[in-house]
């Protein structure tokens, strides 16, 4: 594996973990997540292109409201996913199913765009924390949190290691590629070490084997400001609108 790829992976994971702000119009992450899942599900079962196209149009308007430097980044990911889908769907197009080619590509673009925009508006920790509102076990939230955390930390570690390999490379030699194997091995050892350190750190602070999602993460409706309450009620209204539109088309 090329160190450049590892470096790119590290950078990607790092950028993915940046927390988004909540602001006055705080929308409960569980609402955002539910709406995103509903959008993707309805798109998947829609029989024509009207619903996905409409959702894409709305999502593109949302994208246009983002800061300039984020727009290209947001659009890049669904476009790459759509490109791969198009390649995979070429046989369908040439064997007489051009509509399937178009619909599947549209659905993939829509699904990825919805997820990318969800990632833009909700931080990872709020997203995983929202699972506790769905009454999923706290240990599930903890596992997800831990996975994200390790992806970021080990991604960053990979970046540093690959940089170390790069600055010690004076000419093109084979050992550079074998260095990637070394990086992977070191990352595995590092992750093992970090896991035991984390457990020790938890025990040192009184952990007794049962994980509970922090009360600081649980935001209640009554904690919101007036604007926040109205925003959440309006957001909840999007669910029947979306369902109504789906059945209408």
């Amino acid at each position: 594996m090329d160190p450049k790829f590892i470096r790119a992976l590290g950078n990607l994971l790092q950028s993915d973990s940046v927390a988004a702000g909540s602001g006055t119009f705080y929308i409960f992450p569980v609402q955002r997540l539910a709406l995103a899942v509903l959008c993707i599900l309805l798109c998947a079962i829609s029989k024509n292109a009207v619903f996905p196209v409409t959702v894409i149009a709305v999502e593109l308007v949302r994208t246009a409201l983002l800061p300039g430097d984020r727009i290209s980044e947001v659009l890049l990911r669904p476009m790459i996913a759509s490109l791969f889908t198009m390649l995979i769907m070429i046989p369908a197009a040439v064997t007489g199913y051009p509509s399937a080619f178009g619909t599947v590509t549209l659905k993939v673009f829509e699904s990825v765009l919805v997820l990318v925009l969800l990632n833009e508006s909700v931080s990872w920790k709020d997203l995983t924390g929202s699972f506790s509102a769905l009454h999923l076990p706290d240990v599930f939230v903890y596992t997800l949190d831990g996975a994200v955390r390790y992806l970021v930390i080990l991604g960053r570690f990979c970046t540093k290691l690959s940089e170390a390999v790069r600055i010690r490379t004076f000419r093109k030699t084979n050992w550079r590629k074998s260095g990637a194997g070394g990086i992977m091995g070191t990352v595995v050892l590092k992750s093992n070490e970090m896991t035991s350190s984390q457990y020790e750190a938890m025990v040192c602070r009184g952990f007794r084997g049962t994980y509970r999602v922090s009360p600081l993460r649980r935001r209640r409706f009554k904690d919101l400001t007036g604007r926040g309450k109205i925003a959440n009620i309006l957001y909840a209204g999007l669910f029947p609108v979306l369902l109504g539109f789906f059945f209408a088309v």
Partner: protein, 235 residues
């Protein structure tokens, strides 16, 4: 009765040929501040890990508050919880100590485990965020903050549970001069008759300002001198 009593404690890591600590004896009371010093690899961190109940002596005994600390006892959840409630341990590397999703959750974790109510958790977390000047970054993930902020977060996360024994493994690591001065002043304020503070240090000035007892480990993993001689060696 001393808060911490080490009686001829030796320790050897699994698969190692020689001891990492050799016959360490010391008696430490609350109200005192100890500086553990010595060259790299002399066993300072190993000693602290034993004191924090993460490792156990292969020979000799370690008593905390009169109770002998053994691996068998620490396997009992209740005993372990009671012990860790009294002993706070700041890791040498803050990165491995911070595991929550945000700075505020990191501080709240310890008091949650102690069974505080939700309202108390919120109040105490706010208080410590303010005290350590972390309010601005309270929602940030610990892996996105600077080295000094990580150290302050780790320290706040430990101190929020108000432990009687505070073990700080090289607390000045990765801190700039301003932060070192702040930490020194802060630790000075932490000294109290009810608290025992132990820290590992290479910074001679901070050691002299803070510690009133010294323990010097040599490269053979033994205590080289008694308290007065160790003081001379460190200062």
């Amino acid at each position: 009765m001393s808060m911490i009593e080490l009686n001829r404690v030796s320790f050897r890591y699994r698969d190692e040929q020689e001891d990492s600590l050799c016959e360490i004896s010391a008696s430490m009371d609350t109200g005192s501040c100890w500086c553990v010093s010595g060259p790299n690899g002399c066993g300072k961190t190993t000693l602290f890990r034993i004191l924090a109940g993460l490792e156990f002596p292969t020979a000799g005994t370690y008593r905390c508050g009169g109770e002998e600390i053994t691996a068998k006892k620490m396997k009992r959840n209740e005993f372990s919880w009671n012990f860790h409630r009294r002993v706070g341990y700041l890791f040498q590397d803050s990165d491995t100590q911070l595991f929550c999703s945000s700075v505020e959750e990191e501080i709240a974790f310890g008091i949650e485990q102690l069974g505080f109510s939700d309202a108390e958790i919120r109040d105490k977390t706010d208080e410590y965020l303010e005290l350590f000047n972390l309010t601005r970054i309270r929602k940030k993930a610990p892996f996105h903050i600077s080295g000094g902020e990580k150290k302050r977060t780790a320290l706040a996360a430990i101190l929020v549970t108000e432990p009687e024994v505070l073990i700080l493994d090289e607390p000045y690591n990765n801190l700039d001069e301003d932060m070192q001065a702040w930490l020194l002043e802060f630790l000075e304020k932490l000294k109290s008759p009810e608290r025992l503070i132990l820290f590992a240090d290479h910074h001679r000035n901070s050691a002299s300002a803070l510690a009133d007892h010294f323990l010097y480990l040599n490269k053979h993993h033994r205590i080289e001198k008694d308290d007065a001689e160790a003081r001379q060696r460190v200062l």
